[in-house]
């Protein structure tokens, strides 16, 4: 029996080593010589350095990513006079759980920051479908360290996500994967289309406001705050503008964020309704375009960042 178990154990050890070795090789080969930067791709691991300091770490989904998309990263850094790393993940691949895992990876690489700016979008709390997206990690480079963080970290549909994370490195799509700065969108909406808003809601909330997803994501967000505070990092929440104002579930999330403020002293900056008449600032009904990002950064974000700077200088 012992001989049999040793043999099975050896088989699995060799098999896992083989899978990890070949996957790592494939993963690295595809990105060799390509210049990935925060503004020209949507992935988190590839732009995570080692032993580096950032003034801000931005977390969230596509609305966070917008601060880097379309070369906005440089613009926002210049306006705010800070450097930041943006983990915001769009295209339905972002979730509170994976932002937590990326943050853990950030720390595991001995990076540091003083502030997390967590861009909150209400659908990220309520959708089981979005949380379970099996392809959330498909374009991330393969890192054994991240693989184990994922294995033991919070995640929904973990098995399938981890499997796709590994197997995606053998796809032709991965071989062709590269910086896609060409995808710059300068579109501006001309008018508000209520039908498009309703359609967008149906996509974002496939099964309405899912309570189980909300409760789970609340727990994951608390975990992120606790991890940040354990590492001396200040967390702030930011709600970006939309043309329709409040997302479904807004009040439930705000109530929860208020509780967090009391419990953990984390501030929420709610700007959901500030640009409801500024159609020209939007690429669609809730994503700011470059003009909108620049205006929002100058008008609303800069005062917050400046205030944080003042607080920091007071501390020292």
């Amino acid at each position: 029996m012992i001989r049999f178990l040793i043999k099975i154990g050896l088989f699995w050890l060799l098999f896992i080593s083989l899978v990890f070795g070949i996957t790592f090789y494939h993963s690295q080969r595809a990105i060799k010589g390509k210049q990935f930067q925060n503004h020209n791709n949507e992935e988190s691991l590839i732009i995570t350095p080692k032993n580096k300091y950032f003034d801000y770490l931005i977390l969230g989904i596509s609305h966070a990513r917008n601060f880097s998309r379309h070369h906005n990263h440089q613009r926002v850094e210049n306006i705010l006079e800070v450097n930041f790393l943006n983990y915001g993940k769009g295209a339905g691949k972002g979730s509170i759980a994976n932002q937590h895992n990326f943050f853990k990876y950030f720390l595991s690489q001995h990076n540091s920051t003083d502030n997390i700016l967590y861009v909150i979008t209400m659908p990220m709390f309520f959708s089981n479908k979005m949380d379970a997206n099996a392809y959330a990690y498909e374009n991330e480079i393969f890192s054994p360290k991240f693989f184990f963080l994922l294995l033991f970290g919070p995640e929904v549909n973990k098995g399938e996500k981890m499997y796709n994370y590994l197997r995606s490195k053998y796809n032709t799509k991965w071989n062709k994967y590269g910086p896609w700065s060409a995808k710059i969108n300068e579109n501006a909406l001309s008018e508000i289309d209520t039908a498009a808003i309703s359609k967008g809601f149906r996509l974002a909330y496939v099964n309405g406001l899912e309570k189980d997803a909300f409760e789970r994501n609340k727990r994951y967000l608390v975990k992120t705050i606790e991890l940040a505070q354990k590492n001396g990092i200040n967390v702030s929440f930011l709600i970006t503008p939309t043309l329709f104002g409040e997302w479904p579930g807004h009040d439930m999330v705000i109530e929860f964020l208020d509780e967090l403020e009391q419990q953990y002293n984390v501030k929420t900056y709610n700007f959901c309704c500030v640009y409801m008449d500024k159609v020209e600032y939007f690429a669609d009904h809730h994503h700011l375009n470059t003009l909108g990002v620049v205006a929002f950064t100058e008008e609303y974000l800069k005062p917050i960042v400046d205030e944080n700077k003042k607080q920091k200088s007071k501390r020292y």
Binding site: R3, F4, F15, L18, R167
Partner: protein, 479 residues
């Protein structure tokens, strides 16, 4: 619980350790198997455990009574009772709606409009398999071929043994019950070979069957829009899908049984290397074919009697076999087509021409034998169309289109040769050809260690890379 799921993987590890923890306590081991088997089945739908329980308790009691009673008429009555209850349950769950719908269509043909309601009946997974298994027990006792067991736990475990509960092999009591009654020691070679067989089964299921199914579903689902070449491709792929699926399941089942010290019967003996239809049926779903042979064909007279009797018996056996697969005329037609291909061999007394595997020197002497293998494969492939299509008319139309536009330009290219599973099929054929005299395609126990390990790891890696992990159900779960 599906073999191709993480849940089964965890379940197997837990049961394996608990089972061997009690290696000197046969009774406890049997209880572990029984509980595990009911849990395994109940994971799918616990309500249907009652059916297994009814079949088990009935046949256990009848088995003991049959042995105690000498009076023939009373013994016949008990056997009839077992057959009626078991076939009655099977008939209700599997064939009730078929008979109602058929009757309704029949009377409509004569101008009546009956209002006969059909029932929403769920087909309990594996009912055809365990029903036949438990029936063989009472029939064998009635024939005084075996003694009944008084060990109720062993008997219940025999009926519900989880590796082969839902899709066979349909074990005979005379093979399996004695294994439940004797002390089982952990056997390194047996367990090792079991693992090899499981690996081979997973390769066939996940790489070949489940990937073929994507193309098969597309081609069969839209057969109107394809030309003959594509339809032939669809039928060939279905041939590999059903083989990979069913023989893959059997390999996993037999391999799992070996981990627990059991030897289950071989269910497939490389049927696609058959030289004629008769040989194919000696190699395909062996546990069912031999069941029909022993319990229907031979009692009907078998190959004794005059020609007409022989033809009748062959026809009956194939039609019943087709009907066993499903409550649809397409399955009966599938059985009928095989009967039509078999009867000419019977006519010229060549139905037992090929009882052994092809030998290499046979091919060197007569290379045309490869042509016979290919021809048999093509005949079987055409017959699979009846098996796969939902209606008889659809199947006939499929075959007609396949024949009339075989060389027409395809309306859609599939580039199957660019898919990994295509190479998986080639790998499968090579290994099964090399090991065709053995029990499974990966019985490479005498090969050098380094080569063996290279093959194990490569196959596992191939499964990881190209397997379809969408937990596609096994086709035979529906039967």
């Amino acid at each position: 619980m599906l073999f191709n799921s993480i849940v089964f993987f965890v379940f197997l590890i837990i049961v394996f350790f608990i089972y061997w923890l009690f290696r000197n306590q046969l009774k406890v081991q049997n209880i572990v198997i029984l509980v595990a088997s009911y849990f395994f089945y109940g994971w799918w739908d616990w309500r249907f455990l009652s059916l297994i329980f009814i079949s088990s308790i009935l046949d256990y009691s009848i088995g003991i009574s049959l042995n105690q009673i000498a009076k023939t008429s009373y013994r016949k009555f008990l056997l009839l009772l077992s057959v009626l209850v078991n076939i009655g349950i099977l008939g209700f769950f599997k064939y009730f709606n078929f008979f109602i719908d058929s009757f309704s269509s029949f009377v409509q043909f004569f101008g009546f409009s009956p209002n006969i309601p059909s029932l929403q009946i769920i087909l309990p997974v594996g009912i055809s398999f365990y029903t036949f298994q438990t029936l063989s027990y009472t029939i064998d006792i009635y024939r005084r071929n075996i003694e009944p067991t008084k060990d109720i736990i062993a008997f219940f475990a025999f009926v519900s043994f989880f590796p082969q509960l839902v899709a066979g092999p349909i074990e005979r009591a005379r093979n399996l019950i004695p294994q439940f009654l004797r002390k089982r020691e952990f056997n390194f070679s047996l367990a090792n070979d079991g693992m090899r067989q499981m690996l081979w089964g997973f390769f066939k299921k996940l790489v070949i069957a489940d990937n073929c199914s994507v193309y098969v579903n597309e081609i069969f689902g839209n057969y109107h829009s394809h030309t003959g070449g594509t339809l032939l491709l669809g039928a060939v792929l279905f041939g590999f899908q059903i083989y990979g699926d069913f023989s893959g399941y059997s390999d996993i089942a037999i391999g799992t049984g070996r981990l627990f010290g059991f030897n289950l019967m071989q269910n497939f003996a490389f049927p696609y290397f058959s030289r004629d239809i008769a040989e194919f049926w000696r190699r395909w779903h062996i546990s069912l074919s031999t069941w029909f042979r022993d319990y229907i064909y031979i009692p009907l007279g078998g190959s004794r009697g005059n020609r007409e009797m022989q033809f009748r018996n062959v026809l009956i056996i194939f039609l019943v076999s087709g009907f066993w697969h499903g409550a649809n005329f397409t399955f009966i037609a599938w059985g009928g087509v095989h009967a039509l291909m078999f009867i000419p061999l019977l006519l010229v007394k060549k139905n037992r021409q090929h009882t052994d595997c092809i030998e290499n020197r046979e091919i060197l002497k007569n290379p045309l034998i490869i042509g016979k293998v290919i021809l048999t494969f093509l005949l079987v492939t055409v017959a699979w169309v009846f098996f796969r299509m939902p209606t008889l008319g659809g199947a006939l139309h499929y075959i007609e289109t396949m024949a009339t536009s075989l060389f027409s330009k395809p309306t859609k290219q599939f580039f199957v040769h660019q898919q990994a599973f295509f190479y998986g099929i080639i790998i499968m054929l090579i290994f099964e050809w090399i090991n065709r005299t053995r029990k499974h395609g990966l019985q490479i126990v005498n090969w050098p260690t380094i080569v063996r390990w290279f093959i194990y790891l490569s196959l596992a890696f191939f499964i990881f890379m190209f397997g379809n992990f969408n937990q596609v159900e096994f086709i035979y779960f529906a039967f």
